[in-house]
């Protein structure tokens, strides 16, 4: 079994989830509470990665982040190498790929919060940051938790984007899904079965563990 790929996948999913929540929480708050008219456009764009086939998304990223575009050239200038074929490139790709899975639940969580609570807080002189930490985050905790679980799981199972921008480098971009694909391509079915079974087993256990702990928090 490819333990290196297992660790890489878990690392990728964890980093992606943390980074994505840092973006999705303020974005969702803005989407729910802003009165700007064109926010629907932002909402629509943040859902687009759900629509694009992952290989197509991956291909666009490959071109966009490569030296043929101004954006790609400036990234190469700053980072020193193209983002494709690197772990940081995978993190960026995964964040875009999983964005809707983070934004949607948090948006729903925030819009379920009674506006009176926020009005009261505002009247009492709380600033936005304080409102975020004392009202929004605690009350939308379940939604944020759901977002985190979905992002993590979605990134673990990611294949198309990694196939397109990864370059299959052991320890840097060969994730579990790619390792399984390689094994199947080489007719190493038994090995592929083992890896896939392991992936399913740890994913199922992780999901049971998180959903179980959520129930306890909820009742207790």
């Amino acid at each position: 079994m490819d333990t290196q790929a297992i660790w890489l996948t878990l690392k990728l999913a964890s980093i992606t989830t943390v980074c994505l929540l840092c973006i999705a929480i303020p974005l969702a708050a803005w989407l729910v509470f802003s009165r700007m008219r064109w926010k629907v456009a932002v909402e629509a764009i943040s859902t687009l990665p759900l629509l694009l086939p992952p290989t197509v998304l991956g291909f666009y990223l490959l071109v966009l982040l490569g030296p043929l575009t101004a954006l790609g050239r400036s990234i190469i200038h700053v980072v020193g190498h193209p983002l494709a074929f690197s772990f940081s490139g995978l993190v960026l790709g995964s964040m875009i790929y999983s964005l809707p899975f983070a934004v949607q639940p948090v948006t729903i969580g925030f819009s379920n919060i009674a506006p009176e609570l926020l009005d009261a807080a505002r009247l009492l002189g709380a600033n936005r940051l304080r409102m975020l930490f004392t009202i929004l985050l605690p009350l939308a905790g379940r939604s944020i938790f759901t977002a985190a679980v979905l992002c993590f799981a979605h990134t673990v199972g990611e294949f198309g984007v990694v196939l397109m921008i990864g370059g299959d480098i052991p320890g840097a971009t060969r994730t579990l899904s790619i390792a399984i694909y390689d094994q199947v391509q080489d007719f190493r079915y038994a090995e592929a079965n083992h890896t896939a079974f392991f992936l399913l087993a740890i994913s199922l256990l992780a999901l049971i563990a998180v959903y179980g702990s959520r129930k306890q928090v909820h009742h207790g």
Partner: protein
């Protein structure tokens, strides 16, 4: 209205017989015009799926309804033969592939030579997967016999098939790539870059084999297409597009 619906329902029966072809990814830039010629001549319709030879072989072994399998090497057709699905005991070698080193015209390595591979400023080299893509296997063998493999190993990025290898280097993300001559001679890559051939004796010949699948109802048509591909005129056309005659 009713008639129209009936017509729509049954129209697939009215069109010419369809022949399903499983073709290796390196054939994608080459085959379409040749298949069009065949269709015009034979009044058969050919539906081609282009994927890596390994994927196609696995699909065939699991019952994919192809009539003809054109792989990028001999091992995958042999695998199909071993599982008892082929109409012949040996694959028919229909062409020989050529491995080239390719770069974009605007790359810093535009003065391309095989020795470019030793250039310390070269950072990213694209190759196809050596485990399951025939051109990837050739690329690895070539790098090894040229004695540069250990030096370039950390610089290699591995694409799933040879068409994707071309994409990695054409998009500029990889600086050079070891791709098929068929890709290098395609209109797109001819416009954006140039190539040098890897030394012939540095890798085992990429002999490309085909098998007709014996369970297909279109077996006869598949034999007809294979004969057409082996005809001198088509072999000449293949040569112009990067696939040499095999014999």
């Amino acid at each position: 209205m009713c008639k129209l619906l009936l017509l729509l329902l049954f129209s697939p029966l009215a069109v010419a017989q369809t022949l399903r072809l499983a073709a290796a990814a390196d054939l994608q830039p080459v085959l379409p015009p040749i298949l069009a010629e065949f269709e015009a001549k034979s009044h058969l319709h050919v539906d081609a799926s282009y994927q890596s030879s390994a994927t196609l072989a696995a699909q065939i072994q699991n019952g994919a309804p192809f009539a003809l399998f054109m792989a990028a090497d001999l091992s995958f057709p042999q695998r199909v033969i071993a599982s008892g699905l082929a109409d012949s005991a040996e694959p028919v070698t229909y062409a020989r592939g050529t491995l080239v080193l390719w770069t974009r015209n605007d790359s810093p390595f535009h003065q391309l030579a095989v020795s470019t591979l030793r250039d310390p400023s070269l950072k990213i080299i694209a190759i196809a997967n050596a485990e399951h893509a025939p051109y990837g296997r050739a690329a690895e063998a070539s790098l090894k016999s040229l004695g540069v493999y250990d030096q370039v190993k950390p610089k290699l990025v591995v694409a799933e098939n040879i068409a994707q290898t071309a994409q990695y280097v054409d998009s500029g993300n990889a600086q050079v790539g070891l791709i098929s001559l068929t890709s290098a001679l395609s209109d797109r890559l001819r416009a954006s870059g140039h190539y040098v051939e890897m030394p012939r004796d540095s890798y085992p010949p990429i002999l490309q084999g085909a098998v007709v699948l014996k369970n297909s109802p279109d077996k006869a048509a598949a034999h007809q297409l294979l004969e057409f591909i082996l005809s001198p005129a088509v072999q000449k056309e293949l040569a112009a597009r990067g696939l040499e005659p095999a014999r």
